[in-house]
Amino acid sequence: MSRFIPVRETILAAAILVLMFLIASRFPGFVAPSNLANVFNDTSPLIILALGQMVVILTRCIDLSVAANLALTGMAVAMINVAMPGLPIPVIIAIAILTGSFMGAINGILVWKLAIPPIVVTLGTMTIFRGIIFLISDGKWVNSHEMSPAFTGFPRAELLGLPVLSWIAVATVLIFAVMMSRTPLGRSIFAVGGNPHAAVYTGINVGKTQFLAFVISGALAGLTGYLWVARYAVAYVDIAGGFELEVVAACVIGGISIAGGIGSVGGAVLGAIFLGVVKNALPVVNISPFWQLAISGSAILIAVAFNARAGRTKGRIILKSAEKPVGATP
């Protein structure tokens, strides 16, 4: 049975439903379709970043620089927009993705060629990126009235009832679902994380795969950088401060093993949605703000505990004959 229905994802989806039921009992408006669409839209940046982070974590690495990468790219494109208001949005998006990929590649090169532990590399680049934002912006803000209407309007333009921001998240999920299950790169990412030594023997370049994972994560962070700045219509040094931890939390809740090799696109998406529901529900259910942090944290711990229990049933019995006496005793 469990081969056909993934256990983790089912439990997590059920947990999200229970959570929404509890919220609806206190604030019925939360589960109205229009509000759920808003919640999904609000969670879209987290979904996109969680998918990038998933790829990195699967290869036994971690990318703590995503939020700083997002902020730097966001500031860069915002300043480009102020300098050249006529630049079309597709060009802006291409610049954002390229800038983000470049910063991801820096992480990747350091991990691949210099073999520095990823947590150290990305902790360093995180600080460096934030510093660079300060240098290029002089600590000043880029404000909504300075940005062009097209720049801030793109993520909120409606297409078939949902904002473009949501559609970008949906598209990213679909692309990743195909990439992780149907392409050599996707499979090699699992192989590298699952057993690096075995991966080498099958002809997979472990370092290069990790490098590519960082580039993918960087590209998504860059894309999100533009979307973020356009959505909140403001760019400054500290935007998305501490968001990298939320992204890692979404992955962990989604059942992506920090040890690498185990995880799924569905898990990462559900993990992000779980956090998104919690974050959007707390302001409306009238819980004292002093409790909110504690509740957020507890929700994460409970979700991870569920995952750990689900993960424990992983052991497989190879010799069917040896199973019988064990099964017969109780």
């Binding site: 609000d42 404000n143 009235h145 409306v284």
Partner: protein, 331 residues
């Protein structure tokens, strides 16, 4: 104004009787030392200082400061001013304590020293001019909301973090004067942690939880901008007024879209004007800076000093559609 004119007249009379004609013709040189040159806020303060100088007549303003916001740079500037034997120094300090020795030396040479905006420890100045005070700010933020709600209504506060000292003090002060605003009810206080995304989400949540909400008061520059954006995105411009404390350059878009009718922050022009007036009073009219003293500062009224020789200039200045264009390029 009339008080000031009398004082100015008596000062001029005293000067004519006591001083030699040569000294009377000399301009009074007041140095406005800022945190760093090239910052819009301080350029505007210098503008105010020039206004005061023009009003006083015989005053020359020396607008100066280091090129970066360091205490070392300011000490060099102050030493140069001492060598030039200026009459008064009004400083917005980069460091509370580091400037004290240099400023003490200036006072020993008979130079009047005051600090404004960002203060110096009491030993290093005769008085300190605060742009505003906590009670004035607390009153202003609720007044901004109430002014647009003649029939009363529901307002909510969007603060920074639960532990921000400034915001908590202002909200406490606001609650103390709630009795003066009958019909205005504060339905909730939420915390956006000075993060754009969390503030946006909290503002959206407020509009959902309280469908009749009339105003969001955000006494924090990140929160007020995020709340204005949330109101625009929710299509509630005109129903929910976002107000509080923000910078004109950051709030220009919100005022333009109508999400914010008005907001407040100190006015740098008034600040530079008042600092110059105070420096002049102390230096030329023999006014003693002591606790309890009331020192006139031209069109801004007078400054009352507390036990630390500090005083608050005025209510925060209100910005709205009528003056935002003038100030958005300043700071």
């Amino acid at each position: 104004m009339s008080v000031f004119k009398k004082l100015a007249a008596s000062a001029a009379l005293a000067g004519a009787m006591l001083a030699t004609p040569a000294v009377a013709q000399d301009n009074v040189r007041i140095a406005l030392v800022v945190k760093a040159l090239g910052i819009g806020f301080f350029e505007a303060a210098a503008e105010g200082a020039e206004e005061a100088a023009a009003e006083l007549g015989n005053v020359e303003i020396i607008y100066t400061g280091p090129t970066d916001t360091t205490a070392e740079g300011q000490i060099e500037v102050i030493n140069a001013l001492i060598a030039q034997q200026v009459d008064a120094i009004a400083v917005s300090a980069n460091d509370t304590d580091a400037l004290v020795p240099a400023l003490e030396r200036a006072m020993q040479r008979g130079i009047t020293v005051i600090s404004w905006d960002s203060g110096v420890a009491p030993a290093g100045r005769q008085l300190h001019l605060n742009p505003s005070s906590n009670p004035l700010i607390g009153n202003m933020i609720i007044k901004l909301a109430a002014d647009h709600l003649p029939d009363g209504g529901e307002v909510a506060v969007l603060s920074a973090t639960t532990t921000s000292t400034n915001q908590n003090t202002w909200i406490d002060e606001m609650n103390k004067v709630m009795g003066n605003y009958p019909g205005i009810e504060v339905v909730a206080t939420v915390y956006g942690d000075d993060l754009a995304d969390k503030s946006y989400r909290e503002a959206t949540g407020l509009m959902q939880s309280y469908p009749d909400l009339d105003a969001i008061i955000a006494p924090t520059s990140v929160g007020i901008v995020a709340a204005a954006q949330a109101v625009v995105d929710a299509g509630k411009v005109g129903e929910v007024n976002v107000t509080g404390l923000g910078l004109p350059s950051e709030m220009a878009g919100a005022v333009e879209s109508g999400a914010s009718q008005s907001f407040a922050i100190w006015n740098p022009i008034d600040l530079g004007y008042s600092a110059t007036m105070l420096a002049y009073e102390l230096s030329q009219n023999g006014v003693e800076a002591a606790p309890g003293a009331e020192i006139p500062m031209g069109r801004m009224g007078s400054l009352t000093l507390d036990d630390n020789n500090e005083g608050a200039m005025a209510d925060p200045f209100v910005y709205d559609a009528s003056n935002i264009d003038q100030f958005k390029s300043i700071f």
